[in-house]
Symmetry: C2
Subunit: 308 residues, 2 copies
Amino acid sequence: MDATLRQLAAYAAVARAASFTAAAAQMHVSQSSLSRAVADLERLLGAQLLERDTRNVQLTAAGVEALRIAEQIVNAHQAGMKELRRFLLGESGTVAVATLPSVAAVLLPRVISQFRTQRPQVAVRILDGLERSVLDRVLTGDADFAITTVGRPSDQLEQRPLVHDRFVAVLPPHHPLTEHAEVSWEDLAREPFLAVGRDSSVRRLTDAAFAQVDAHAEPAAEAGSIATVGGLVAAGLGVSALPALVLPLTGTAQVTCRPLVGPVIDRRLDIALRARRTVPRAAHHLLETLDALRVQGHELPDGVAWSE
Amino acid sequence: MDATLRQLAAYAAVARAASFTAAAAQMHVSQSSLSRAVADLERLLGAQLLERDTRNVQLTAAGVEALRIAEQIVNAHQAGMKELRRFLLGESGTVAVATLPSVAAVLLPRVISQFRTQRPQVAVRILDGLERSVLDRVLTGDADFAITTVGRPSDQLEQRPLVHDRFVAVLPPHHPLTEHAEVSWEDLAREPFLAVGRDSSVRRLTDAAFAQVDAHAEPAAEAGSIATVGGLVAAGLGVSALPALVLPLTGTAQVTCRPLVGPVIDRRLDIALRARRTVPRAAHHLLETLDALRVQGHELPDGVAWSE
DNA sequence: TCAACTCATGCGATCTCCGCATCAATTGCG
DNA sequence: CGCAATTGATGCGGAGATCGCATGAGTTGA
């Protein structure tokens, strides 16, 4: 019913070369093969495309139209295959990374800028959200992988440690505790505590830390965003504890930080992948870029360190 | 190296249906055939496109991209074949008709308007020129056929009589000859004669007619276009003889016409085709329309008659 | 626990397509 | 004027692709 790609390509080559023999040489096939292919195509279409005598080959009106269309089809095929191959090699397409807002704002930019210099044709999409939705994005396949705090181990996910992110005490500029070189969780427990929202992974960890030193965990106030917490601290309403990585998000608020010990709380940020899945090539390349930075020991903010 | 159309179509069907069995039913092939086709495609690309467990088939990231591209390629192929078939059936494309300006202006419009109501998708190109160039257009293939005066018989051309076009005397409004019901070439020879240009087919015939009655053939003046000759006659500079078909081209000039006898000169307008060539379908349809008008005896101007 | 349904695969038959050799026709050179 | 060279078409045999049938392996749901 429909013409074969081979027939169309053969016809196009013959029509362009105006010669079966020359086209056969270009295509590295026998002349007889092309002769048959074109004859078959003509029979299929029920129309003569080429006017041949033993010396010249020339196109009929139908042949001109057929050449135009055959080239169109063959080009669409070749271009499509090329595009697909580029995609499979990870040289085009999109990588979607799901991650926490802090990682998105602080850690990712330097990774992406490095990645883009190597693969400018690959777009990067950042899907930022809270811990729960981040993992959902990976499980549903919306994201190629996630960078997030580790939840409970799941056989749906494969997790690779990426960085450790230490909690620091966040204090108003002239607060008495700023006199100490280090601050303990017990010290903080004696002050009004400003917490982040209940959905945040940070909140889960601060609650756990206070529980560990048998201190009350009731916050004096809580806010959804890090920036708000920073503002509250700067205004002297109380103190807080935040992972070092998110400190840039406190923005322009004037706060003072001190190492936080007894115990030292290290939040682990992992790369989370769907288990038993091959990672798309482009995403794999982004992971490689990330790993290269880790191996090279690329500089990180105080309190943040590469894993392993 | 490249994927087969069949593989791409098979993959697209399976990916769209998210089921090998369902896709096989739609395509009226066995399930095993599709299973192999997709597996072959995946092996060729070196990437997994579908994630199958025994219950569900779902697309990988590569699969999503492959589906988009496969559909693109398959659609391009199908659309192209459809377009080509339409062309070959004469339902699209262009018909090029080479013809004399008089035919182009007077005879063709009614033919084309009839033709376009039946095949609105087919464009008509009119290549008007003098007798010589008209035939060249056909011989080079620029035009599908010509409507023109018959030159010397050539084995390159096939000619079919179309209409007979009788010469009439063209006189100033109050010229003495307008008193006669008929005018003869000898009558005209006694008046100053206004001729068309030497390249025109009309000129060849008027010269021949005067020679036939042993009259001088030296024109008082000559002009390239019919409209100019009409103007000269209207201004009383002399008389002329023109085929009935071209009279509309004298435009608004006030002239009087009389039948021209002794001898009656009938210019034959033929359809000229390249010999031993199949006419493109769309052109064939236009010829059929023309023939239908002839058979129906479609009305023509006085002095013009269908052949046969 | 088992029937039912999924996709994968071994196998044999068929079909397509390729290349080699050759033919018929025309051209161009001697 | 005639022969060598070149062109596209075609008969033929073989290699490879592809198909459907039957069946296998694995999972689901009653």
